[in-house]
Structure formats: C-alpha cells, structure tokens
C-alpha cells in the first residue's frame, strides 16, 4: 500500500470507477452506490476487527441506527450534512455505552454483547411504531441537496457517496498511521506487551469499537438516502454477520480487505440475481450455503483472508 506504484494503481482504479459510472446502467449505478455505502460501514468494522482484534456482531444495528436517525431527521427538515455528524456521534456514544461493560471483562464478550444489542435494536425498530413505523418502515426519505443543487439523480448521488467514502477511508488511513493508530495494531498483536508499554488496552479497544460504530452510523445515513425507504429487515443480525465475514474474508487488518469482502457479499449475489444463465440462477439459491462453506475453508487454509494469498508466496520465497 505504501509504495508509489500502489498509490498510482489505487488512484487509477478510483478514476476508472468514477468514469465507468457515467456509462453504466441506472441499476448498476445503484449497486455501485450501495457497495460504497456498505464499504463505509465495513471500513469502520475493519478498525474494530482487524486493528483492535475484536469481534463485533452488531455493525448492522449501528448501520440501522444511522439510517433511522437520517430518515426521521431529514423528514423533519434537518439538512443532510447536519445529519451525518449527528448519526456518527449518536452511534459513537451508544458504542461506548455498549462496549464499556463488555470490554471491561473479557474481550470475546464484545461479540456476545453486540449480538444481543443487534437483536434488541431490531426489536425496537419493529415494535416502536410511533417512532420507527414498525414493519411498514419510513418511506419518502429525501436525498440531499446543496446550494440549490439537487442530488436526487442516481449518478450525482453516486459521486457524492463515492467522494464521501474516499473521505472516510482517508480519515481512517490517517488515523491508523498516527501514533495513536499504531497503538491499535500493538494491542492486537500482543495486548499484554502493549499494556506493559503504557497502552491502555481497554480504552483503545473501546475507542476503536466506538469509531467503527460511528462509521456504520454514517453509512446508515447514506443508505437511508439511497434507498429512500427503510424498514427493519436490512438491519437484522444476519447483516452484521455478513459484514463481519466480509471484513474477515477480504483480510482483516488489511486496509483494503473490506473492499474485497464487501464486493463478494453485496455485488456477487446481485450479479447472480440479475443473471439469465441457468446455473448462475441455481447458484443464487445456494449462494449463502457456498459462502458459509467457503468461509470455513478459508479459515482452515488462509486465515488471513483473500488478500493474504500473495503474502504466502512471499514467505515461501524468502524461506528458500
């Protein structure tokens, strides 16, 4: 990632996607935007999972909290750019409140706490009809506009989301390069050593988790604005599970890991769904079953995720 060649490749890839969006079909632009939206959440989750070494099974709950805040606030007339920090701060605070008791004990307790939290948030979304609309959800969520420029169209909203994703990713990149971010990696690799060097493990882990939650909240705001209608379904615990697996499958602790994983969980099933080829249609039904088996196989043979595949050869070469 650090070499000039990689930076150039990344820039070329981003430009390519940006140009491709101009020529893509409307539905393809929608999917591209959806991928960007989920990426905001999974980039955040990678901070929790890959850098702080914690399992979070509640990312979809934060994603949903962000989406519902956006839906309710924007329908009340709050401008989009004010909703984004509002959702981020709300999820950050909820993340702190949830993470504090869980991380104080044993670190794998966070997985259970977030799992239960997701179940609870889902119940609230479904049952508190006065606020969330229950199973009917909230419809007619507006898209943002700036200085009189409506971003209602598929392509303008894609560019807006794309740029926002790049900003969020850059902030996370900068965070991880700072001395403060280095401490994350230290506590993942050897928590006891990190602690003896003066890193407050619990505080750092908690912050990593809360920042990850805030990213999910931001992603949720864009999600609500993209789909214009939200109901509890997409924020079920199973989405959290997929998000977590996306990070792991791509390669947790690798900055670009979530990109690979998110493309697999978001774009691949959509591709299968829209395909006309017979065996691909068959795959659509069995997609999750294959995915589950693939995750097991990956953990057995390549626990570092898909992006660690290249490293394997590097190690072998030096071993010779």
């Amino acid at each position: 990632m650090n070499s000039p060649r990689n930076t150039l490749l990344l820039a070329a890839g981003l430009v390519l996607i940006a140009v491709a969006a101009l020529f893509a079909k409307r539905s393809e632009v929608y999917l591209l935007t959806l991928t960007c939206v989920y990426l905001i959440a999974t980039f955040g989750l990678n901070l929790t999972v890959g850098y702080a070494g914690q399992m979070s099974l509640g990312q979809a709950a934060f994603f949903g909290i962000g989406a519902y805040i956006a839906a309710i606030a924007m329908k009340a007339g709050v401008p989009f750019l004010a909703v984004v920090p509002l959702a981020a701060v709300a999820c950050f605070v909820v993340g702190l409140a949830l993470g504090f008791p869980a991380l104080r004990v044993q670190h794998h307790y966070l997985a259970f706490a977030t799992l239960g939290f997701n179940v609870l948030v889902f119940l609230i979304m479904r049952n508190e009809e006065k606020i969330t609309g229950g199973t009917f959800g909230i419809s007619a969520i507006p898209r943002p506009s700036f200085f009189g420029h409506e971003l209602g169209g598929a392509v303008p909203f894609f560019y807006f989301t794309f740029v926002s994703l790049i900003i969020v990713a850059s902030l996370l990149w900068w965070l991880l390069r700072s001395p403060w971010g280095r401490a994350f990696a230290a506590l993942r690799d050897n928590p006891i050593r990190a602690e003896s060097l003066g890193v407050n493990i619990t505080a750092y882990t908690l912050l990593a988790f809360a920042i990850g939650a805030a990213c999910a909240g931001i992603g949720g705001v864009y999600y609500a604005s993209l789909v214009e209608f939200i109901e509890p379904g997409p924020f079920h615990f199973s989405t959290s599970l997929l998000m977590l697996l996306a990070v792991i499958v791509g390669g947790s602790g690798r900055f670009m890991g979530p990109v690979v994983g998110t493309v697999i969980i978001i774009l691949l099933p959509e591709f299968l769904r829209s395909s006309n080829v017979e065996w691909l249609k068959f795959m659509q039904k069995w997609y999750l079953a294959f995915f589950g088996v693939a995750v097991i196989a990956l953990m057995i043979w390549l626990p570092g995720g898909i992006l660690s595949f290249a490293d394997r050869f590097k190690v072998k070469e030096t071993a010779k």
């Binding site: 399992m55 004990v105 239960g116 999750l288 079953a289 589950g292």
Partner: protein, 291 residues
C-alpha cells in the same frame, strides 16, 4: 399470584431447554477452548433429523436414538475432526469465524435444499394440563423438566463419580497437568464433543414441539445458550443451568407483565447487568489471565 407461579413454572421448563444447550456450550469451552457460534444450528439439525426418521416411519424413540447416533458422528466427531482440530492452532478468532461459517452454511443448506417453512414437530409428551395447588400445569412442561433434570443428573454423576468423568474434568481444569498424569487428553476432548452433540439432540426434542422445526430456529436458542453460559459463569457447569433457568423465567415474566414484544431482549439485559456487576458470572470463579 397464581399467574406468577404459573409463569415461573413454565419459564423453568423453557429455561431447562436453554440450560441443556448452554451446558454443551460450556463443556466445549472448558475442555477444548471452543466458542461454538453454531450451537443453535446444532439443535436445529437434529430436529430435522428426527422429522426425517419419523417421516420414514420410525417411532419417536427410534428416531431419537438414530438422530443421537448421527449427531454424535457428524456434530460431535465430524465437527471436531474437520473444523476444530485444524483450526484450534490458529487461535480463538479463526475458529469462532469458522463456526459462524458453519452456522450460515447449515441454515442455508436446510433452507435451499429442504424447506424454508416451519414444520410442526410432535410432542413426546401427552397434551393437556392438570391443576396442582391452584395453578394449571401442562404435561409438556412437567415432562420437559423431568427429562432435562434427568439428563443433568446423569451427566453430573458421570462427570463426578466415574474415572472417565473425573479425567474429563481434569482436562478442563488444567490440560497440561492432566497429560502429565497420563490422561488421554485427546480422547477426553472427543468425549466432550460427543456429549455436546447428544445434549443438542435432547434440546431439539424438547424445544421443537413449541418452537417448530425451522431453518432459523437455532438463532434464538443459540443466543440464549451463550447468554445463559455467561450469566451463570463460563467456567462452571452449574452456572449454565442457573443461567438457562433464570433466562427462561424472566422471559416469561417480562413477556407477561411488560411486553411480549421484548421477550427476546431479556437475555441481553440480564447479560449486561451480570457483566457489569459480577463479570465472572453468578456462580463463576474469576480466572487469572495467563501471559
């Protein structure tokens, strides 16, 4: 007051089922250091297994025994050999992720390959209820309690009274010391996996008549099992029992007096309260962290 006692009683019966799933979960954690996120699916699969054998014409007891054998072979031995053994050396997280993969795969295979519907499951106990000291008690609740209680008593006396059982406890407490004492650690760990697989079948037999057999029935029971294990104390088998029963009772009470819509949230709230005030669990002993 009559209402309340009735709620507590039927809650205890439901809790006993949670406790069985939680017990297996705790045993796996103690003996092999495995956190099994597919525990719920380990209950769901035998439910479908028994339905399959009964559809083939087998009476319930035979279907139960056949499923027990199959479950011990696949969910016990197979799970250990294919997933746990190759992964345990990578550490806890890859193994946990793999069990999440198992959970997704098993659920999706049942849904795509068999059915997405909820299937009725015959109760092993007679219908109806009788009055006892002013409250209505159903035969199903009594049967569930008796059966779960028997399993627990048999399991506890096996663990405490027999040489094999004590060897298994030794492995759970200190694997290295157990090996030095000449205990066949690998075999003891295998026994734990087999016991877990069997407990799952019993839990399936007891839970499926009320919850129905469905591909995602494991979501709920799996979560209750984790929370019951932690609430009671992750390193105590008795803890899993207490945790399970506590969740069962509180769910019933909250469902009746507060709101049935939030029944599923009870376990989480109880869990958060426990880890805030008594992190080692109600009956657990705190563990020192090893460097």
């Amino acid at each position: 007051m009559g209402d309340f006692i009735q709620l507590v009683f039927s809650g205890t019966a439901t809790g006993a089922i949670y406790a069985l799933a939680a017990l297996g979960f705790t045993l796996l954690w103690q003996a092999a250091g495995v956190i099994n996120f597919a525990q719920g699916e380990f209950v769901m699969l035998p439910a479908f297994g028994m339905l399959f054998f009964m559809a083939m014409g087998a009476p319930m007891w035979l279907a139960f025994l056949l499923t027990c054998a199959l479950s011990m072979l696949i969910l016990g031995y197979g799970f250990k050999r294919i997933i746990v053994d190759p992964l345990i050396k990578h550490g806890v997280i890859p193994l946990v992720i793999a069990t999440l993969g198992v959970s997704i795969a098993v659920k999706s295979i049942i849904r795509a390959g068999y059915s997405a519907e909820a299937h009725p499951f015959p109760s092993p106990f007679p219908d109806g209820q009788f009055a006892l000291a002013g409250i209505n008690v159903s035969y199903a609740d009594v049967g569930t309690l008796v059966m779960a209680g028997m399993i627990v008593v048999v399991l506890q006396s096996f663990l405490n009274k027999t040489v094999t059982g004590r060897a298994m406890q030794a492995v759970a407490q200190n694997t290295d010391a157990a090996r030095v004492l000449g205990i066949n650690v690998k075999r003891m760990v295998l026994y734990v996996f087999l016991i877990n697989a069997m407990l799952a079948v019993v839990a399936a037999l007891l839970v499926a008549p009320t919850y129905l057999a469905k591909f995602d029935m494991g979501d709920s029971i799996g979560q209750k099992a984790f929370f019951a294990a932690i609430i009671g104390g992750f390193n105590q088998t008795r803890g899993a029992l207490l945790g399970g029963v506590l969740i069962g009772i509180l769910e019933n009470v909250v469902g009746f007096y507060v709101s049935p819509a939030y029944k599923e949230g009870v376990a989480l709230v109880l869990f958060l309260a426990v880890i805030l005030f008594r992190p080692e669990g109600l009956l657990g002993k705190s563990e020192e962290r090893k460097v």
